[in-house]
Symmetry: C2
Subunit: 409 residues, 2 copies
C-alpha cells in the first residue's frame, strides 16, 4: 500500500520536477490560503487528538505540543508565505568546459521523494510539505498516532490546495496507518524513496538509523556544552550560560552540560547557582566540593540531553581536557567556549567535532532562521550531505548535464 503512494508520488514528480519556481510558489501560496479558509475544519479534527491525549493522560506539555488554535494555524500559513519569498534552490549551478569542447553544467535538482517520520507537532506536516514542494520534491508524511486526526486533516487541505494549483495533489502523500509496521515498511523502500528524515526524540531517530536501508539524515539531538575557560569574562559567562540553559530548555540547541576551568570554578559555581535558581545542577566530585548541596552527576548524566531545567557540571584542567570530554559526550550539534584567549578559541573551534562551534556566544543561535536560511527542515547532526541547520539547498542534489557535438573518449 505504501508502494502505491510512492508510485503516485513518482507520477506527480514528473510534473513537479520540471515546474517553474513561480508555479511552485503559487501552489504554496494556495496552501497558505486554504489553511486559513479551512481552519475550523482543522480545529475540529485537532479536537479529536486533544480528546485522545486526555484519555491517554498525556502530560500538559505533550498536549500543548499537539494543540492547534486559530492563531497557531495562521502562524503556520504566515510561515508558508515566507517560504514563497525564499530564493528558488533549483537550477542554480556552475558551468565548466572540457578540453575538447564538451560543456559540463553542474545543476541543483530535486532529490525526488522525501519521507518524513515524525512525532507530535502537527505543524511539521505543513512545514515539511511546503519545503519539499518549494525544492521540487514530492513528500510522504508519516506522523505519529497522537496527532493523526490533525495530520490527515492538514494533508487533505494541502492536497486540495495543490489540486487548485498547476501541481498534482499527489505531490503530498500521507500515511494514515500509524502502526509501527508502516514506519518499518517506509524504511525499506529503496528505489522508491530517496531520503528519509526522522524528526522526533532520540529513540525514534535511533530506530530509524538502525533499521533504514534508505539514506537517512539524523536531526535534532543536542547534548550541547558550554566550556568556561580560565580567561573568561565572568559576567559574559553567566549571561551565556543562563541564556543557553534557560531561555528555552526543551529545544535541541539549549545547553545541557557545563565545563569549567579549574581556576574559575570556585568563583563561578556559586554565582551560576544563584543566577539560575530553577536549574538543578548535577556535578562531578570536584564540583561537589564547591557546591556540597547539589546532586552527583553519573557518567550517564554527561551523555544526557535533558531538555529540562537540569545541567551537568564538570571541572577540567584546561581547554584540551574540555575538548576531549566534549568529543566523547556531545551529539555533534553545538558547543561553545567562553574565553579571552585566542589560542584557546582556535584550539576549541578546530578540534571540537560539532556542526556549530561557538566562541563567546550562546549555543541557542544554531537555527535556520538565525543563520539566515529562512525556514529549516531540521538540524542535521550527521556529517554527510547536510550538517547543522538544513534549508532548501540541503533538500536538493546535483546532476551533471554534459552537452557535446559528437565527442567520444
Amino acid at each position: 500500500m505504501l508502494k502505491n503512494k510512492c508510485l503516485k508520488a513518482k507520477e506527480a514528480f514528473a510534473v513537479l520536477s520540471s515546474s517553474t519556481g513561480q508555479v511552485r510558489n503559487r501552489a504554496i501560496a494556495l496552501m497558505a490560503e486554504s489553511l486559513e479558509a479551512e481552519y475550523e475544519y482543522i480545529l475540529t479534527e485537532n479536537e479529536k487528538d486533544i480528546a485522545d491525549a486526555a484519555l491517554k493522560r498525556l502530560s500538559d506539555a505533550m498536549t500543548d505540543r499537539l494543540r492547534l488554535t486559530k492563531e497557531r494555524i495562521f502562524a503556520i500559513s504566515a510561515s508558508l508565505r515566507k517560504v514563497c519569498m525564499l530564493p528558488d534552490p533549483l537550477g542554480k549551478g556552475t558551468v565548466f568546459t572540457h578540453l575538447n569542447g564538451l560543456t559540463i553544467q553542474k545543476v541543483q535538482v530535486p532529490l525526488g521523494l522525501i519521507a518524513i517520520i515524525y512525532e507530535s507537532r502537527p505543524n511539521v506536516t505543513v512545514d515539511a510539505a511546503a519545503l519539499c514542494i518549494k525544492s521540487g520534491n514530492t513528500v510522504i508524511l508519516r506522523g505519529g498516532s497522537e496527532a493523526i486526526n490533525s495530520n490527515i486533516a492538514l494533508a487533505r487541505v494541502l492536497r486540495n490546495a495543490l489540486s487548485a494549483s498547476d501541481l498534482p495533489a499527489d505531490c503530498i502523500q500521507i500515511v494514515e496507518d500509524t502502526s509501527r509496521e508502516t514506519a518499518t515498511e517506509l524504511m525499506k523502500l529503496n528505489g522508491y524513496i530517496d531520503l528519509l528524515i526522522p524528526r522526533g526524540g532520540k529513540s525514534l531517530i535511533q530506530a530509524v538509523v538502525a533499521n533504514s536501508t534508505i539514506p537517512v539524515i539524523e536531526t535534532g539531538e543536542g547534548n550541547c556544552h558550554i566550556y568556561v575557560d580560565e580567561s573568561a569574562d565572568t559576567e559574559m559567562a553567566l549571561n551565556i550560560i543562563n541564556n543557553a540553559k534557560t531561555s528555552r530548555p526543551s529545544v535541541c540547541n539549549a545547553a545541557e552540560s557545563l565545563l569549567l576551568h579549574r581556576s574559575v570554578a570556585a568563583t563561578l559555581l556559586p554565582l551560576i547557582k544563584a543566577r539560575m535558581p530553577k536549574v538543578e545542577l548535577r556535578g562531578c566530585a570536584e564540583t561537589l566540593k564547591i557546591l556540597p548541596d547539589i546532586t552527583a552527576a553519573t557518567d550517564e548524566d554527561f551523555y544526557t540531553e535533558y531538555l529540562d531545567y537540569i545541567m551537568s557540571v564538570k571541572i577540567v584542567a584546561d581547554v584540551k581536557e574540555a575538548v576531549t570530554h566534549i568529543n566523547e559526550y556531545n551529539t555533534k550539534h553545538s558547543d561553545a567556549i567562553i574565553t579571552k584567549n585566542p589560542d584557546a578559541a582556535e584550539y576549541f573551534t578546530v578540534n571540537v567535532d560539532a556542526a556549530a562551534v561557538y566562541v563567546n556566544a550562546s549555543t541557542r543561535f544554531t537555527d535556520g532562521e538565525e543563520f539566515g536560511f529562512g525556514a529549516e527542515i531540521g538540524i542535521s547532526t550527521q556529517k554527510l550531505h547536510a550538517r547543522g541547520p538544513m534549508g532548501l539547498d540541503e533538500l536538493t542534489t546535483i546532476k551533471y548535464k554534459v552537452i557535446g557535438n559528437g565527442q567520444i573518449r
Copy 2:
C-alpha cells in the same frame, strides 16, 4: 579489535585534522617515494597473491587486476604526486555576519575516519589512503582476501612513510583479517567511523547498503543507456555507440543498453551490428524483426550491467518512452541522447534521473579526471552528499564557526 584500530585512528586524527596542507602534501610525497624505494618487497608479496590466484583458478582478467609490476607501482606513485598538486580542500568556506554582530564562518573540514571495503585491485589501497590523507581524513582499509598480501605490504610501506613525515602512521589502518565477519563488524561501528565507501561489484555494494548502519556512499554500478532520437545524425550515433560500448567494456561508464527511436531503427540496426562485430546484441521483439539472427532480450537483460561485449537493444516510440524506460532500468549513473532536436535534448536532460546526462557525447566521459577534479575515490550513484565523480571536496563536511562577543538569544 577493529575498535582498537578506530581508536588509534582517532588519536591520529587529532594531529592530522589540524595539519597544514603543506604537511599533508609532504606526507603523500613521502608515500610516493617509499613505494618506489620498496617496489621489490611489494612485488614479492604480490607474487603470493598471484600464486593463490592460480591455485584458486581465477580468470586471467581477475588475475591481471591483482597483478602489480614495477611499471604499475611507479604509475601509482606518479598518481600520488598528482594528488599533491591538487588544491587543498580544507579550510575553504564562506563568511557571513549575523544581524547582531556574530561572525558565522562555514568552513570545509574533514569527515573523520573513512572506511573503504573493496575488492581486487591493490592500487585502491594506495589511492584511497592518499585521497583520505590529502583531505585530512584517517582511513581504515578492508580489501579482499585475493589481494591481502599485496594490501598488507602496501599499507606497511605507506605507514612507514607517514612515520618519516609529520603525521602519525596510525592515520592509515589496514584490516588484515579478510573474513566476512570483519566486514560486518566495520559496517556497525557507528560513532567510530564517519563514512563507509564500498568499491567493487554489485553484490558487495548491495550487502553494504543492506547491512551498514554507518552512512554509506554507493559507487560504481553503471547500467548506462544511449538513446538515438528520430533526428540523430547517423554517423555521430554510430561513433558514440561504438565508443561507449567497446572502448573499455569493463568500466562503469561503458554503455550497456541501446534505445532506438522507431523511425531510425531499420536503418541503424544493421549498421550498428556491422560496426561492432564483437558485440552480442540482445533485442526486444521489434528489434528481432529487423535483426532476426540475434538473441531475444529478457527483462533481466535490461537491468543488467554486462561489463562485457554484450548490449541490450529496445525500440521505443519517442523520447518520452525512452526516458520512462531509462528511469525504470538505469542505475542513475550516466545516460545519453543523440539528437538534433533541442526540445528532445531538454526533455531528456531534465527528466532522466542520473548523475550525468549527455547530449551528443559518449557516456565514457563520466570520470573524475575527465571532469577536471583530479583523482577520484569513486563515482557515486546515490543522490546524498556526493553524486557522480567524487573528488577531494566530497571527502569533506562543513562546520559552522560562530564568533561573538557575548551575544545571547
